[in-house]
Amino acid sequence: MYDVAIIGAGVIGCAVARELSRYDLKVVLIEKDTDIANGTTKANSAIVHGGYDAKPGSLKARFNVEGNAMFDEICKELDVPFQRIGSLVLAFDHEDVQAIQELYDRGVINGVPNMEMLDREQILALEPNLNKDIIAALHAPTAGIVGPWELAIAMAENAIENGVELKLEHKVTQIEKLENGYGISTDKGKLKAAYVINCAGLYADEVHNMVADPSFRIIPRRGQYNVFDRSVGDFVKKVIFQCPTKKGKGVLIAPTVHGNLIVGPDAEELDCKESIETTMEGLGFIREQGKKSTEKVPSHAIITAFAGLRATPSTGDFIIEELTEAKGFIDVAGIESPGLTAAPAIGIYVLELLKNSGVILKEKESFNPIRRKAIRFMELTDEEKTELIKRDPRFGRIICRCESITEGEIVDIIGRKAGALTVDGVKRRARPGTGRCQGGFCGPRVMEILARELEMDITEVLKDRRGSYLLTGPTKVDTGIEESFDAVAAAKEL
């Protein structure tokens, strides 16, 4: 019997898990996929928003501003890449100027600090690559960029270090109300918990409906992006938004915490919660729309495209509440943008809800908020590098040539709590394969290391989820008598 079961190991589930791990509670984090952060968390703009966008009084507005203020500390504790680089919302005409003025006013009400309006000269001084026809911009210096899956993985790792249990590849199929809690059926067996936190992202409505009448829907809203090579990573210095208009929110251009450049997204409501394919229309749209901010978008340096699904709630705002008809069951649903920014604050709010519902929160003395620092070999000094290779020669072997990632770093992130189990899992934690060759050189090496460290055959190594096998078997195996007759017959026909 668990005290609390969290369903879904995206950034929200992980934030809740980490907050709960401070207290003397038996907590389990349940995830249907092979890895943490495998849904919306791995495919979004990776922005820590200022907080001027959401309607005053909404949960979005509250947790955006509260969450934003928590990032410095949490990213320091957990060693997550985060940079408070600020954002600009560009105005292209006088209507836009009015609109960004409204954003400014909203930001003031929401409590966003230090915003300012900039004129053309100020904008171009900050961002010389932007188009010259921009007339004004809203500057929010508190906005930033973060590694979204790194944040989720780090929170999960820290939570597990502090006692939370993680169950991957456990898909919740049914939840029944028990006298003193809930019985949760998964495809890998049953477990019981007194409290359930529904952080199921795109599937939060379905999980909700397992214990209560439908009260909201989650609409998958797809956004597509292009990622650019590091050689153009400093093309813009800040997160560049376009002024939202009746026609849409526009696309953003931003550096990433890893030194790449990202452009996107579009927005397209879909029926299917698994439709993460990019389309020619979508990528074409972001390419065209991006030109509004800068004609100089360096298209030659695109290294990849991806699509993510936002978990858009039918209610318009985050849904974070204990169900009246199912006591002890808390929905944390519809966490679309600014969900990533809000995550740390939502984690704390869920604690409050649990406390209100009667959970006794007794702080653990043993709680350690610090996650062991990831080794980023290339960021070390020459002396440190030399020392490290002497201690462990695996740091002397570069696996990913584009990003200069060593074998030592890869072995480290496989061995950690909530460590990598798949090629994409390694990629998200240590970055091999994210560079310009996109894993062409290092893919086979990473598979080799995974097979060795996890003691499996290389043909069992997955890209991502169950079913995403990479190799179909060894060559030179006897294909059997019948097939060989076919082959001979086929050969004769040639």
Binding site: E277, D382, G396, K463, D464, R466, T475, K476, L494
Partner: protein, 421 residues
Amino acid sequence: MLNYDIVVIGGGPAGLAAAIEAKKNGVDSILVIERDRELGGILQQCIHNGFGLHIFKEELTGPEYAQRFIEQLEDMGISYKLDTMVLDISEDKSLMVMNRTDGLLKIRGKAIILAMGCRERTRGAINIPGTRPAGVFTAGTAQRFVNMEGYMVGKKVVILGSGDIGLIMARRLTLEGAEVKAVAELMPYSGGLTRNIVQCLDDFDIPLFLSHTLIDIKGRDRVEGITIAKVDENRKPIPGTEQHYECDTLLLSVGLIPENELSKSAGIQLDSITGGPVVNEAMETSVKGIFACGNVVHVHDLVDWVTEESRRAGRNAAKFIKDELWDGGPSFRTAAEKGIRYIVPHMVRVENVEQTVDLFMRVDDVYTNVNMVVKLDGVRIRTITKKHLAPGEMESIKIPTKFLKEKSGGLLTVCLEKEGA
């Protein structure tokens, strides 16, 4: 800090030939740095034959071609470091390198030869829409898995791009029991050699669709199918021409890119067309004493030409060490004109030319019965009639130095003209 006369970066065909040639020309202090576990570079996975027809007058496989050079290098006692990565080159020709046994190491060369080769273009670089499942491989990665590691990458395969690696892999996978359903090529002509189309596709009844592109990839976890469509003259897909194939694997053979991240760190000037360093007749880059050769300069069609070019680089690096490379005298710039995509070298100092000025180039389309016309400052000095030219094949023109000796400098251009014009 270690000091050498010549440091060669890359132990593939280019680096091997350059090092051997430098040694033959009197330089003893040479180090070859290779990032893989063995010498030979990409040749070790190119187990098909067709290498060496020009250099050795026989048809060798990739590993055989490589081994001849590796054995020679070892016989000559040239030192090399394996599993070693060059992290950075500075303009003063010092390198920061790293491996398991030496740790971090500073190495200084009086001359450096860049021979890092090239990498494959990826799915992202050509922006193919669709899902991102397992089962999408570049042809070269698949080749390594199948030929060296001994693993199959799939059972039902479609190949995008008809470059030679894609064609070769179509045959390899078929022979290994996979079903290769089709090869789709964006251009109206194949980027590969005709003999490969016959021996790798026609022999096995694999259809080649020219002027076709990939418009969709299906499958959430593993590739389940792909859709190709015919393109119009602007390379845009034509609605109604879609063909769907069920397959578990998509191979990409959509071009190679010279690998010049290190060249950039050394401040070397690059050519935006070739993607490689701007070089002179000695294969010297814009930084004095840093030479470059092979696919890092421009992507070659045959390894034999890589060897030839690399020997030239090795020879000239040796001259540089012995202070026999001329920097003054008449010099000529080269420029590609109508029908020609690029010319290597970009600059020719006549004093250093051994016998003829050899210009290497690629054309921008398929041509039949055309003249390749060389002009010096607008005046025609050579005309070569060609029955057949294709972008997949590198062309070379030799210009006797007598045309240039008298002049004090100028501009050498090459263009295509219709025969009889």
